[in-house]
């Protein structure tokens, strides 16, 4: 607190002497937190180490023995997990605060090296034969187990990504949009079911009151995946007469999620729902416009987008107020 503001505080009579004293003491002994710096160092350390080891193994696969490599990776993984098991707080269905960031990142390193371990086993010895489902299923199970057991959100996100690999797609939002191979019908259905499963999982965490704070991760991935796959489903069947069913499903889902977000006062999800529904609605409107003659359609589009965006701005401001007030 700077001096000008501090003087202002002292003049007020409704500020107790104790509070003034608290602030004065804090100003005299300022503590400088290195929390985020150290956390970034840990993150970089884990990232560099796991990447470096990955390349090292890949390049030297012929010169050092396979058993040696496997042993090294296993040792790192076991070492990390041992540390975490030793320092872990007891399990609880609620949020468990991790003892420190080091714990978080060693757990992450342990999981990453376990993934490398399994991948290496499969690559070299084809332990799972040609049963690729199994080869991705086991890491996924481990990731989810670790995420719940040690209460680690980052590993939960990795688990969700692995669930997607197991189902045959890869799923972090960036890849979802950039890979863009949506032509295939089965891909769309897989994505859609994945999204819905995640949404369901998110709701179940709350229903059973089991790790309720994981709900955010499930819903974050679930909402993006479901809406994007519904939109692509619509475009994939653009000329079919039943293509509108995709958008109908989208609006139904949007309404459900809207009510849910209002209930939880989650503005992030509300924003996603509003924007995705706006895209879907605009697609319908533009489709209706382009049945007109060329120039008129352009004018109508401009008017529609200007008007609707203004309306949406008002809506967002209104919803924000409503959530704050409730």
């Amino acid at each position: 607190m700077n001096t000008a503001n501090y003087d202002k505080l002292k003049e007020e009579d409704f500020i107790s002497a104790k509070s003034i004293e608290n602030i004065r003491i804090r100003a005299q002994n300022p503590l400088f937190s290195l929390h985020w710096e150290l956390k970034t160092l840990l993150y970089l350390g884990v990232m560099l180490l796991s990447t470096g080891l990955g390349i090292l193994i890949y390049k030297n696969i012929d010169t050092i023995g396979h058993q040696v490599i496997l042993a090294i990776i296993a040792a790192i993984s076991i070492g990390c997990f041992t540390y975490c098991l030793k320092h872990r707080p007891p399990f609880s269905r609620e949020l468990v605060k991790s003892p420190n960031s080091l714990f978080d990142y060693l757990l992450l390193l342990g999981c990453l090296s376990f993934l490398t371990f399994v991948g290496y086993l499969q690559f070299q010895y084809t332990v799972f034969g040609t049963n690729y489902g199994m080869a991705t299923f086991i890491p996924m199970l481990l990731l989810f187990f670790v995420a719940y057991e040690f209460d680690h959100l980052g590993i939960l996100s990795m688990g969700i990504a692995n669930l997607a690999i197991w189902m045959g797609v890869s799923v972090t939002p960036a890849q979802l949009l950039s890979s863009g191979n949506f032509d295939n019908q089965t891909v769309i259905y897989t994505y859609l079911s994945l999204g819905l499963i995640l949404l369901l999982a998110g709701q179940l965490t709350e229903y059973f009151n089991f790790k309720k704070h994981f709900r955010f991760s499930y819903l974050h991935f679930g909402i993006h995946i479901s809406f994007i796959s519904l939109l692509f489903g619509y475009f994939n069947h653009y000329d079919a007469s039943f293509s509108f069913i995709w958008l109908l499903v989208l609006f139904a889902l949007a309404y459900y999620l809207y009510a849910d977000a209002m209930k939880h006062k989650a503005f992030y999800f509300l924003l996603l729902v509003v924007l995705y529904s706006y895209i879907a609605f605009s697609i319908l409107v533009v489709r209706a416009f382009i049945t007109f003659r060329d120039m008129e359609a352009l004018y109508f589009c401009c008017f529609y987008f200007i008007g609707s965006a203004i309306a949406l701005i008002r809506l967002l401001i209104y919803l924000n107020k409503k959530i704050k007030a409730s």
């Binding site: 970089l44 470096g52 503005f267």
Partner: protein
């Protein structure tokens, strides 16, 4: 000059500090509430999600409104391709911006951000348009010189008027680009003195920012500019940058030929990040400390680019292990706060916590390599090709 209500800005600063004091448990909720009532802030500043949403929607409105106007005017010859038309659109955006800020008291709401960047972009585009016409009558200095000088003045104006961080940074970077391109001004030795000139200017701006600390309304802008002064000042003396930039503009250096004054640039490259960190720790300044940490990576990359001590994977593993060890050591050392430093999170940033940024970053970066489709894993040679067509 500043468009915002200055009392409200002061109150906002007070409220933010009181909120922090409340989070730390120094003052009670009752006291905070009374202070907030006594020192009100009338701005409309929604949370980051609303801001992002409003930004996107305002962009939609401005682009379609511009499109509609262009449609209407498109019959009038080459009106809509003339620079004057861009200026016209830019001024409309600017007027809308002034109105929304003055009448509706928007303050970093997304609407004002969108309008500001649209207006600045269009006005700059108009200037470039005029300049291309004028260039046919031959200009005395390079084209970029005029552009960056104008960009600096324009962004500077927006910074002063709206106290926007990014605009301040753009203004500073434009100044550096202007110096970079204005080789005619310095005659024959332009390439030789350019690094020192940019270092001096960065240092000058940095100390000006420190000196200007008393202008509280622009605190964010000054902080952002300081960060970029430190980074640019380092880059200007970085061996790699100097060498590449020098040989890009003048005749290229021969293969294996060193830079004149090489020792100076190498010292600058390696030592400066540590100087930043040391000063940051000594003065307990986040800006210096974090810039230094970032620049250590830059120094390492520069060094590796010229001296291949070990293969990249070995270096990655070693550095990774070293970073883990350092972090571990420091965390152990700071278990109880020492010398005014602590490892504890003092003021947990609630917003970062709300969207769980850390977990998303971990999910994004670590699921990448292992997320390669099964097909490519069996391809033998190429990892992570992402080939959906690979069959087995």
């Amino acid at each position: 000059m500043i468009i915002y209500n200055r009392t409200w800005l002061k109150n906002l600063d007070l409220q933010n500090q009181l909120k922090r004091a409340h989070r730390l448990g120094d003052i009670t909720a009752e006291e905070l509430k009374q202070m907030e009532e006594k020192y009100p802030v009338g701005f409309y500043t929604p949370n980051i999600f609303v801001r992002a949403g409003l930004f996107i929607l305002t962009q939609i409105i401005t682009s379609f409104a511009g499109g509609l106007l262009s449609l209407i005017f498109s019959s009038m010859g080459d009106l809509i391709t003339s620079p004057g038309y861009f200026l016209f659109l830019g001024l409309i955006s600017y007027v809308a911006l002034e109105l929304i800020v003055q009448q509706k008291h928007h303050f970093r709401s997304g609407v004002d951000d969108a309008l500001m960047w649209t207006a600045a972009g269009l006005i700059l585009a108009a200037f470039i348009g005029y300049l291309s016409i004028a260039q046919r009558n031959s200009l005395s200095a390079p084209f970029e010189c005029y552009v960056f000088f104008f960009a600096m003045v324009l962004a500077g104006y927006f910074t002063l008027r709206f106290a926007d961080m990014l605009m301040a940074v753009v203004s500073f970077l434009s100044l550096i680009c202007f110096l970079f391109f204005s080789r005619e001004l310095f005659g024959f030795y332009a390439a030789a003195i350019r690094p020192f000139l940019i270092i001096l200017v960065s240092a000058g701006v940095y100390f000006l920012c420190v000196y200007w600390k008393k202008y509280k309304d622009y605190e964010n802008c000054l902080t952002a500019m300081q960060v970029f002064c430190l980074l640019i000042g380092y880059a200007a003396g970085n061996y790699f940058v100097v060498k590449e930039m020098g040989s890009m503009i003048n005749q290229p250096l021969q293969e294996g030929e060193g830079l004149p004054l090489g020792w100076f640039f190498w010292t600058w490259t390696i030592a400066l990040p540590f100087v930043y960190i040391a000063l940051g720790l000594k003065r307990k300044e986040v800006i210096l400390l974090r810039s230094g940490l970032i620049l250590i990576a830059a120094a390492a990359f520069t060094f590796r680019n010229y001296y291949h001590v070990m293969p990249i994977e070995g270096a990655l593993s070693l550095v990774g292990a070293a970073l883990l060890a350092i972090a571990y050591g420091v965390i152990r050392y700071l278990k109880t706060p020492k010398k005014g430093f602590t490892y504890e999170e003092l003021d947990d940033d609630q917003l970062l916590d709300k969207i769980k940024v850390e977990s998303l970053i971990v999910g994004e970066t670590f699921s990448g390599p292992s997320a390669a489709p099964e097909g490519s894993r069996m391809g033998g040679g190429s990892f992570g090709g992402g080939g959906s067509s690979a069959d087995f």
